[in-house]
Symmetry: D2
Amino acid sequence: MTPNATPTVLVTGFEPFDNDPLNPSWEVARALEGWDCGGATVRAVQLPCVFGLAAERLDEALARWRPRLVVGLGLAGGRTEWQPERVAINCDDARIPDNAGRQPVDTAVVPGGPAAYFSTLPIKAIVQALRAAGLPASVSNTAGTFVCNHVFYALMLRLAGLPGVRGGFVHVPCLPEHAARHPGAPSMALATQVEALRVTLRTALAFENDIVAGGGQLH
Amino acid sequence: MTPNATPTVLVTGFEPFDNDPLNPSWEVARALEGWDCGGATVRAVQLPCVFGLAAERLDEALARWRPRLVVGLGLAGGRTEWQPERVAINCDDARIPDNAGRQPVDTAVVPGGPAAYFSTLPIKAIVQALRAAGLPASVSNTAGTFVCNHVFYALMLRLAGLPGVRGGFVHVPCLPEHAARHPGAPSMALATQVEALRVTLRTALAFENDIVAGGGQLH
Amino acid sequence: MTPNATPTVLVTGFEPFDNDPLNPSWEVARALEGWDCGGATVRAVQLPCVFGLAAERLDEALARWRPRLVVGLGLAGGRTEWQPERVAINCDDARIPDNAGRQPVDTAVVPGGPAAYFSTLPIKAIVQALRAAGLPASVSNTAGTFVCNHVFYALMLRLAGLPGVRGGFVHVPCLPEHAARHPGAPSMALATQVEALRVTLRTALAFENDIVAGGGQLH
Amino acid sequence: MTPNATPTVLVTGFEPFDNDPLNPSWEVARALEGWDCGGATVRAVQLPCVFGLAAERLDEALARWRPRLVVGLGLAGGRTEWQPERVAINCDDARIPDNAGRQPVDTAVVPGGPAAYFSTLPIKAIVQALRAAGLPASVSNTAGTFVCNHVFYALMLRLAGLPGVRGGFVHVPCLPEHAARHPGAPSMALATQVEALRVTLRTALAFENDIVAGGGQLH
């Protein structure tokens, strides 16, 4: 089998969970399925919100598409901005059951794996580009301990064995229709989020190394 | 001069303040200038962010357009939703100077006026209609003590002398481009806000009396 | 019956509600029962968390103690500071049932009463004195629409007919033991709250008129 | 030199930073200097709020006291609870300069070190014990990227080479006097925090292995 003639960018989103009818991470991802990003083609893949199974599906997508760049997306209800994550930790600690009823507490994503992996996306350059485009963004230093972090960790472990392929994870806000059912929740419109994904992918392809720019937190 | 052949709805927004290049309240208002809302024509008027002068300009607009409905809009940085205000209080207490450098502290909007006026918009019906349309909304019980509350109070005082004309005030979130310069701030896209204004006006015209629906706060 | 030989300060707190075992507003009030505040004696009275009945009990306490100063206290879960309230509004709008199962929606506290009453406590002086004493405090512009606002409005209506008697309302944070059952909730220790009440009462007696000091909100 | 006859527990706090006159992490630590915790003696050591130098001072304290347990404390302005941290990451990214004017951006705490270390404190047991004692607490999944995380990472790296010695880090809220100068900030009284430290140390000594209990975050 020959390598892909066209380079591919893989974007993953999740199926709905916690009784919500839709998940913005998937709505945003599928909106750019087939999009040409500077010569690379975007492939959107939906992952189940299930520990273990989500990582298996990710592996299948990596094998099928052999992407040069991978961006995982996940919903972070309560956040106001598009937030590239800095680090994935080797810990599953589920506050609620996943879609298969699994609720691991303080177990490793991969037993014996490193405690953490850093994103290999240029997260500072992405935040800077998003803000310059008028899109609210900041770096996040925790991806939590649910299925998002699980997939993020599994992804970085795979990429550690695939030199030249970079990737990471972005947490995204609720959509307005979601916030309309959860009074007080912040949200971001689908069109705004899709534009944020475009800027994220363009910047990730353009910056092989990150820029040096502030973005840390005191605590 | 004959009365307006066509009924008019007056929507006011503010000029920018506090060093921001634009004010979503005006961007949203002017987007619907001339819009036909069930037989009524929307007139958008920009008010200065100046104590006293803003109320004068409001008076001029009321005299010119003789509206049957008036909706004032103002920016509330930090809020996540489109929020109809319940009550205007007779108090100016400026945390920062207005655009003319005025900074009243604990003075009356109108000396000798009532302590407060309630909105005569159907605020519960509006919130219900917004949520049904997938737009984040809730009732607010304080419009603050800056120029927004000042204009809201001045409006309700005028409308108290104009039987049959209803009105009120809505606080709106930042736009995304605004939030992009203030890390962490929640925002709502212009298109979302314009749709929220359409739903607000339609509902306000349709419901002469408000519905009985929850929306209070414990504190 | 002769007037009280000793001037009295009345402090009210509420019984527990919403399934909590205790209410900090009452714990704080009763801690100062009998305290001599510059020649005035503090009387602490517990009010039921019930629309209507709370105001009746307040009336009884006013008749019994003929205080020269009245400070109502109420719990505001989620707030971080000791917050003197600026204004009571003539509106009951209960998000949850009170302790008698009553849940009024958009009804008047007193039909035909003014839309609002302002506190006659020196709220800016109180906040300044609290901060100078190292106690977190700020002015609040909404007392909500539940039993706290109900009692606050009823109190100010009574005081409007009692020249020389001043009063108002303060919302207080959770106690730590309360926050320990509600992860994420801010709290303030009982000792800190009792000291805040002492400072509040001393300042209220010392300042017949409020100082001119910032404390407003943009929205 | 002979080993310590009495087992030692080392607690570190920081000197003030960011223009604050005092730092609760040190006020709490020094309050328990010399305290006997179930047969072990607490030694409180103040660390400078300086990248690099803080880790050197920590090393000196480890060498001097040869503790069996180490708990680092640091201020987290804006947090409402006593929060044991789960993980230290190998990243310095300073939003503001430290007390020596150093402001590293995206550099390693220890070049070539593991991406992260997990706390070896029983963080779930500590949170459970704190809540049972009426003290607000929860697990935190990010210690930030400033000097707190720097010291936490340096500590865990050292402990990785000292079998049988356990340790970790706890972020603590502002004191009330601090919050009084930063309107809106949550706080926790010194007495409450000192009691929280007592419970933390007792629990850490009692539980060599953590309990299995919820405490994760969705994101």
